[in-house]
């Protein structure tokens, strides 16, 4: 009942999305305002429709309708209700519905805005969102239907949407259930965050295409979508961080990022999106790089679709194993067609997009921004190369050759270091013209301070050359950025006659994007501390201990006290939990409880580390194995991950920085005037 209903609603939604595309294009070409209005309303209608479709799916999931194949695959009787709801995006078919649901919601929100003087964009924004929506709904309706059910046909079970001849419905007693590894809070929020990021980037793309089609190629489209891009970036970043945290907490290899193809697939649109956020500033301030911004937003869109496909297709072997399916070629056709069309539009509008001025000085802010873009694109090329290299090598040599994490680390390492350096230099350079002298004058203090920090670290902490270089760059960025806050606040304090902190708060409040950006720079530097720590200084040890025996690692003593096993019949889980006492230099610090949870239904272990986290390092203990209680031995693997906590602290600060930059201003009109004035003054202050 609900299955047919849900399917019918999605089919209707698909048709409505198609209608909105045709009506919008027709209305725009024939200059018929009523057709465009009709298209807008159609787009607006898709959201309630798809919500009803999704609600039917959730109803089936929550009520254990295992005759529906999707429900059978992702839920089981023993799962709590909230997990059954979130199982919506636990499999391919459901996550495509989820994607469409988000897109429909965002597109509706956009069509609701006051269009006034941007009304010529409206039909084309509807066209782009409508085509994307129709593509995903088409996949759901025709290829990856979450509502197909099991039918008993002549003794065999088959899955079909509608009843075959002489078939009776088949309901399995219990579903397969979500993999225990995916039942972690991080993994429940991670996919929707990534998807929110992916889908939000469709909106800036839609406006870019609208600008190209209508020929209104000034920076209006960028100003209209600035906040969308920032929110998209926020969600995408948050999704990546959650994925890392999940790996650290659940996968039990003491790391957080494995250069897995699926991770890279989510990372690539982040890279182009980050480049885009930087380079639009040059277009706004200097009227340059218009072609480039278009290309970046188009690339981001293509990578978003590609990422959606990769994260759900299992084309490449990875720990994120997901279903293989027949929809791969359709994705590639869709990406190819939209990419080619977009590029054709750019070529058509090429003359209108030429810059208003020329880039003159190699050290000007715009040139350094361009360099930043080049570095992000280089990292993108490295990632893309790594992902497609097996296919390329097979094509040319007949042998499948793959590259592993070592490839990504050694190829991107210098690029990340260069980005850090640039993050320190660029905010100090002036728009238009900068020389070594002017730049040197504003840089030397921070460089000197960073050098002193590095020398102190050399004396007391490490003599690893890469670490020292990394810490130099990190402290350089931190000093430069704090200096910027200091200088801005001091200047305002003098002219406005305010206290230092009032001046700082007002300065930041009035220049949200600028200072939000600086907060993000600080957070990146803080994250870099953690990454350097775990990458360069991680130590590990292992051993089998009898009760009372101990292991020593990096000043810690880990003493095995006891171990207990018990079962939870209701959940079908058997827990084995060890108690170990932690000492450092003879001082008792407390106990840790590494565990292994055995999920009988899935026949799978889940190794949960016991982790003691401090700003200095993490003591990360895994219970690997244990002997029967009589002999009382247990095996542990222990990592000490120096400084890694800074990465999580940096991530939180990073998210805070984006929210700060993207937060809506209270008085938009006055605010933007104010912004222009203060930006002018800060430009001159940076130039002097």
């Amino acid at each position: 009942m609900f299955a047919e209903f849900g399917y019918g609603v999605l089919l209707v939604t698909f048709l409505v999305a198609l209608y909105s595309v045709i009506a919008a294009a027709y209305g725009a070409v024939k200059k018929s305002a009523s057709m465009v209005e009709s298209a807008r309303r159609a787009m607006f209608l898709t959201f309630p429709l798809i919500s009803i479709g999704a609600a039917s799916l959730i109803y089936l999931l929550v009520n254990n309708h295992f005759e529906v194949s999707f429900v059978y695959e992702v839920t089981s009787l023993s799962m709590p209700t909230y997990l059954k709801v979130t199982a919506w995006w636990g499999g391919q078919a459901g996550s495509l519905v989820f994607w469409s649901f988000l897109l429909s919601g965002f597109a509706s929100a956009v069509t609701l805005r006051k269009w006034d003087r941007d009304i010529e964009f409206l039909p084309w924004v509807v066209v782009v969102c409508g085509i994307t929506l129709a593509f995903f709904l088409g996949l759901v309706v025709f290829f990856e239907n979450p509502f197909t059910r099991f039918w008993l046909v002549g003794g065999n079970v088959e899955s079909h949407m509608f009843a075959p001849l002489n078939a009776t419905i088949f309901t399995p007693e219990d579903g397969q259930g979500l993999n225990p590894l995916l039942r972690h809070p991080g993994m429940i929020i991670h996919p929707p965050m990534l998807y929110l990021g992916f889908v939000s980037f469709v909106i800036p793309y839609a406006f870019a295409i609208a600008a190209l089609v209508t020929g209104r190629t000034d920076d209006r489209w960028i100003r209209l979508t600035r906040r969308w891009s920032l929110w998209a970036w926020l969600f995408l970043s948050f999704g990546l961080v959650l994925g890392g945290r999940w790996a650290y907490d659940v996968l039990g290899w003491g790391g957080y990022w494995g250069w897995d193809p699926v991770e890279i697939a989510a990372f690539m649109p982040w890279l182009t999106g980050t480049a885009f956020l930087h380079s639009v500033m040059i277009q706004e301030k200097r009227g340059l790089l218009k072609h480039w911004n278009m290309i970046l937003v188009i690339l981001t869109y293509s990578l978003v679709i590609f990422g959606t496909f990769l994260t759900r297709s299992g084309v490449l072997s990875s720990v994120h194993a997901f279903a293989e399916s027949a929809i791969g070629p359709l994705f590639f056709v869709f990406i190819g067609v939209t990419f080619a069309t977009s590029i054709a539009l750019i070529i058509w509008r090429w003359p209108q997009l030429s810059g208003e001025t020329e880039m003159k000085s190699m050290l000007s802010r715009e040139a350094l921004f361009l360099l930043n873009n080049l570095l992000f694109m280089s990292i993108l090329v490295v990632c893309f190369w790594g992902v497609i290299f097996p296919l390329v090598s097979e094509l040319f040599t007949g042998q499948k050759v793959t590259v592993g994490p070592a490839f990504y680390e050694s190829a991107t390492g210098p690029l990340f270091a260069a980005l850090l350096f640039l993050m320190g230099v660029a905010p100090l350079s002036a728009w238009g013209h900068s020389t070594i002298q002017t730049l040197g004058r504003s840089i030397w203090k921070s460089s000197l301070a960073a050098l002193i920090v590095t020398l102190i670290l050399l004396a007391v902490y490490t003599n690893n050359i890469y670490a020292l270089l990394g810490f130099f760059l990190v402290s350089f960025v931190l000093f430069v950025t704090f200096q910027e806050f200091w200088r801005g606040a001091r200047a305002r304090q003098k002219t406005q006659d305010e206290g230092f902190f009032t001046a700082l708060a007002r300065l930041m409040g009035r220049n949200r994007r600028r200072y939000g950006g600086y907060i993000i720079h600080i957070s990146i530097a803080v994250m870099a501390i953690g990454i350097l720590g775990i990458e360069l200084f991680q130590t590990e040890t292992q051993g089998t201990l009898a009760q009372g025996e101990e292991l020593n690692i990096s000043g810690y003593t880990v003493q095995y006290r006891e171990l207990a096993s018990w079962g939870d019949q209701g959940k079908g889980v058997n827990y084995t939990r060890a108690v170990v006492d932690i000492f450092k230099n003879g001082i008792y610090l407390g106990e840790l409880n590494p565990r292994i949870d055995y999920y009988a239904e899935a026949e799978q272990n889940m190794t949960i580390p016991g982790n003691r986290s401090t700003l200095r390092d993490d003591l990360y203990i895994l219970l690997v194995d244990w002997q029967p209680v009589s002999s009382g031995g247990a095996t542990f693997k222990i990592y000490v991950n120096p400084l890694v906590n800074w990465m999580w602290i940096g991530s939180l600060l990073f998210i805070a920085g984006i929210i700060f930059a993207a937060w809506p201003d209270r008085e938009p009109v006055e605010e933007s005037l104010q912004k222009k004035v203060t930006q002018r003054t800060s430009q001159t202050s940076a130039a002097d």
Binding site: S69, E73, F150, G155, N156, V157, E158, F170, P172, Q176, N179, L181, G252, W253, G314, V315, S317, V319, A321, F322, A323, E324, M359, K360, M362, A367, L371, L374, S378, V381, V382, W385, F389, P390, Q399, K400, V401, T402, V403, G404, A406, F407, Y408, S410, A411, P414, L415, Q542, T544, A602, E603, Q604, M606, T607, L622, V624, D625, W626, T635, K637
Partner: protein
């Protein structure tokens, strides 16, 4: 564009191209099935390889004192199309494990026993084959298709 910009960016691009080239050279590993690897013995002995196969459940042994994990994998096709034709990954792995005529290779891995290791899992290992025909893995990835893939209920196999 002024010539100095073109020169500057050209140099950066060259540097990036070099980075990618050298990193590829240093870390490229051939990706092979068990059959493909055995066909090229002894040429591939000592080379850095990435191989894939189906885990034989009964062969899994773990010594917690030394963290030494040993198991065997049987040849299973890795090509996406072939897997589709033969009825999906779960079926392909199942066939590989129950067929005693398939070529097998012994894997040795030192480390924590992965949660996903079990019979009929797809294993992807990075490491080197030694002269005795034992594959020493430094990295071990596992994929258990039955838990993810669109699979029909048990009763479906009573045809």
């Amino acid at each position: 564009m002024k010539p100095k910009f073109i020169l500057g960016f050209g140099m950066i691009l060259a540097a990036v191209a070099y980075l990618i080239f050298s990193a590829t050279q240093a870390s490229a590993e051939r990706f092979m099935t068990v059959n493909e690897m055995q066909a090229e013995v002894p040429d591939v002995v000592g080379q850095s390889l990435r191989i894939t196969g189906a885990v034989i459940g009964e062969s899994i042994q773990y010594d917690p004192n030394t963290l030494t994990l040993t198991f065997e994998v049987a040849h299973a096709p890795a090509d996406f199309k072939v897997i589709e034709e033969q009825g999906g990954l779960a079926e392909v792995l199942h066939q590989a494990v129950i067929d005693p005529t398939r070529q097998r290779v012994k894997i040795v891995y030192i480390g924590v026993k992965p949660d996903l290791l079990r019979g009929e899992a797809q294993a992807i290992m990075t490491g080197k084959l030694d002269e005795a025909g034992i594959f020493h893995a430094d990295e071990l990835l596992l994929k258990c298709p039955t838990r993810y893939e669109e699979a029909l209920p048990e009763q479906a196999s009573t045809d």
